[in-house]
Symmetry: C3
Subunit: 396 residues, 3 copies
């Protein structure tokens, strides 16, 4: 059994402005203090639950989820987080709604929000659309609240968009904090965020973008590696460079997995589709051009196939610091010989890091719960102290 | 921020017979006192929640929903209402059930109800079927309760049928009460329930029927207007006439939008399919005659197209009292130039009334919660006083 | 109204080892004492709820359901049970998840379980697969818990597999205990578990197998009857024989419905597909061989048609003890002239036993709740006493 730390980490001194009443759309839209608050609230919620203390702070209320793409772990993480705090998930299933009837985002956003506290949205299919959609929903909610239509302004949590995947990258960060002992200890560490071969195409850019957009703020040396042509959204790459410069870290782009792995403390090999492919794909999706999509897929897969050597093998792992870099993945990974013939990672490498990877995934419900809690409460530390003091058992 | 009225409106003197343990299927099946109780309980629930007092009165229990047609706002309203009172929604999804295997209504009704408190049903596709189905479910529940199969008789709430849409019309009525200050003030007011052009066909009759079946009881002058041939179910029209006569109001049918709008205090322009078309459509749906449905649609749309001038324009609004009638719609509306090329209402008219319309929609969760509460509790006023006195915070 | 017995039946003396922290996959994997505990906990939970005492013992927590086949009553029973105890159902819908992407059972099982208490699985489509799948999930959970990935090991409840249907057979047993007064009174009673004609094919074997696997343990005379060729899984039949011998009962297989009915106290006529057909069907399903499935269905239906006289008619009922055997069915039944032209049971027989059948079905939510409670609590009697003493009203 894990030993349980019994001290609440979140301090009231931590200002919650930037989180309270503010949507969580991009990690780089939040201050360092905000990010640290999310981490400590997540740790505290986990600690309370592990001690069988229920951190429930809603007697009723809805947490709406809208998944415009398939999801297992984020869906369950969102459901777990809502449930832990006392909110009930209500899924907005566009197939079962009247949204197809030409209803506007402005109207739907108000209609689902009369008694809602949180809205979680996954929208990662269309480049240029996902984050924009979340902002449109946010603007609609602002307006409806200002107009007196809504009694409160529900908070939006980005459950993955075309630009960022903050619940993933923050769970990854909490994992790194846990493994390396503190955020402070991440300074100077080298992380290799690298493309890897996959037999599927069209994987979103949000994970690599989320990683370089977050890790460059902690004084790390961030290497982004990909085969020529597999670029990310240029603005995010530019931002990563700026942030690294401001935060005492480094950021560079290389075209070699080996170069990125060399001396790395952490490696994150993960497939994605090139930015310009996602742009073309978005255009074809919008036109429902299935033939075009088919031929784009074919073209991309044959292009991908030129880079099958971009696999996280045992040999490549030997290039990392003492051959023991921490391997990360957002899961599910394309594991060579397990879930596919040739994929992102060798089976032995994956298996060696499987347990830490699963623990990494286990932080996500708490990260989402922390985003919910900091959005709804001005002083999260006070709320945590109160529920701890209340001492209500989660299980009697 | 809205100023909060802190006095409970529901009085124990209000008899709850007619509501307690009785299904809510048609507003005209309820006494005036019943309707007033629904409104005041809804207002009280809203007031309590706005004061952060949780009106939760179930520690556990299921509220079953069965949607035989797509729905956004009613689905979310039902979920919000159930959640507010402490019930958990369980959706009866016929596609995922064994109902397709020829299971009888009598059997299914019992099987889903062992631990259920409320059943909400939307069934508006087949003329002559929706309300009948609800009554069949009700009879099955009566029988199962009498037989000792069920420990209690769950209450049924009509979430829209082929005849009435009581959660909508009651939310509309609460909106009118709020805007005009009291039910008393509605006396003598003129309301125009009129057909309007839409580029889609087959819209249900339940909204116009619900409106004329409810508003004729409050001493209003109700004008029902539609192009020749767009009749409603004759029995409901007859009932509206009778009620108006009994309640000191007026009811007439006209074939001109302008005539109905003239001097109106309230206008409700909304498309629907003619009664006889719905009858034919029901026959075709039952036979899965897709070609027949296609050709019926074509015929109807071309007929509709003859009445594009039945649009709620600025010019028509000028005909109303001081040009300032309150515009109502159950939403989503077909807004010309916004959600369609030519539709039910001009964009400027809709936009001017958008905020009140959204507020109108915001009453629906509370109306449904009031229907639930009055169905389950003999003395709703006592329950409301108790939860107020208990003072449990909805959000800590 | 039912008279309410106010005494808790579950005693702390009842050892809960075998249930606490152990999956409920097969009734024959549980001791007699375990089965009696499930029954008494179910009765106590029903009694408490009937007295309006909420047995809620979770302040939050998830009960995951995974239905790989359609379900109404088991789905609602699971939802009701979870809700009664304070758990929230989260459905694992494989169509909406990333499981299709080749994710392993090991990984998915961990990913959905971070904050989960219970996992209910229905998987009855593939012979040799359903129970195996549950064990794979169980092994994955064991491993994830041992590895520190999960803070606790969620319990699995078999909601029907290819081998057993324990929530059904235990609900049937509680029904028999209620009707005959005690488990003791079942000794020497004759039960006829017999095949019956149905115009559909491919019905699972889990119900007849579950019945012979359970009822042979209570000193009953169990007759299994079917037309030649309609065998069950041989291992289960063998087990039934062994159990009967050990428990002072009798078990035999006959090829005549009349022979099984002769002098029976209880009859359970129910269609199923022959074991070897289910094997062929499984092979075809795995290959997505729709033509093969079609022709297998045709072949089987024509074979079934040779046994239309295997119907539970009034005449056959007359063969039973005093012509008054208790008729059982897991529902929905194929009722001749009601849900099909010719089926498993005559309409008059079914109708005469309809109310007891529905009551039988009404035990299922409580059986499932008892499985949940005994899985999570070492001393269920103490929990029941505590919630009784707490006296929290289910409905205020």
């Amino acid at each position: 059994m894990t030993q349980i730390n019994k001290e609440l980490k979140t301090k009231s001194g931590n200002s919650n402005s930037g989180l309270f009443g503010k949507d969580f759309l991009l990690t780089w839209g939040k201050s360092m203090e905000n990010l640290e608050t999310i981490l400590s609230v997540a740790e505290d919620l986990k600690m309370l639950r592990d001690r069988n203390i229920s951190p429930r702070c809603f007697d009723s209320g809805l947490a709406i989820s809208q998944f415009r793409d398939n999801s297992t772990r984020t869906r369950f993480s969102f459901a777990s987080a809502a449930n832990l705090l006392g909110l009930t998930v209500q899924d907005l299933d566009e197939g079962k709604s009247q949204i197809a009837h030409g209803e506007t985002v402005r109207e739907t956003s108000a209609m689902i929000s009369f008694l809602s506290d949180i809205i979680g949205i996954r929208d990662d299919m269309y480049l240029g659309a996902g984050n924009t959609y979340m902002r449109e929903v946010g603007a609609a909610l602002d307006e409806a609240y200002a107009d007196g239509v809504l009694p409160q302004r529900p908070g939006i949590i980005n459950l993955q968009c075309d630009i960022d995947h903050p619940t993933q990258s923050m769970a990854d960060l909490l994992h790194l904090k846990t493994v390396f002992g503190s955020l402070e200890n991440l300074k100077g560490k080298k992380i290799a965020m690298t493309w890897a071969y996959s037999p599927s195409y069209g994987k979103p850019l949000s994970v690599p973008q989320g990683i370089i957009g977050l890790m460059t703020r902690f004084g790390m040396q961030v290497d982004l590696a990909y085969p020529e042509g597999y670029d990310l959204i240029p603005e995010v790459v530019e931002l990563a460079g700026k942030q690294a410069a401001e935060c005492g870290g480094q950021f560079r782009t290389v075209n070699s997995m080996e170069e990125a792995f060399a001396g790395a403390d952490i490696v994150y090999p993960k497939s994605w589709a090139p930015f310009h492919v996602m742009e073309r794909r978005t255009g074809l999706l919008r036109k429902n051009d299935y033939d075009g999509l088919k031929s784009l897929e074919k073209e991309c897969l044959s292009n991908n196939a030129r880079y099958k050597n971009w696999e996280c093998t045992e040999d490549k792992m030997k290039l990392t610091r003492d051959g023991k870099a921490l391997y990360l993945h957002c899961l599910p990974a394309d594991i060579s010989g397990v879930s596919c013939l040739e994929g992102e990672v060798a089976a032995t490498v994956f298996e060696r890091y499987r347990i830490p990877l699963y623990k990494q995934a286990g932080f996500k419900p708490y990260i989402i719960a922390a985003m919910m809690l900091t959005n709804r409460f001005e002083d999260p530390a006070r709320v945590l102290r109160n529920v701890e003091h209340r001492g209500r058992e989660r299980v009697i």
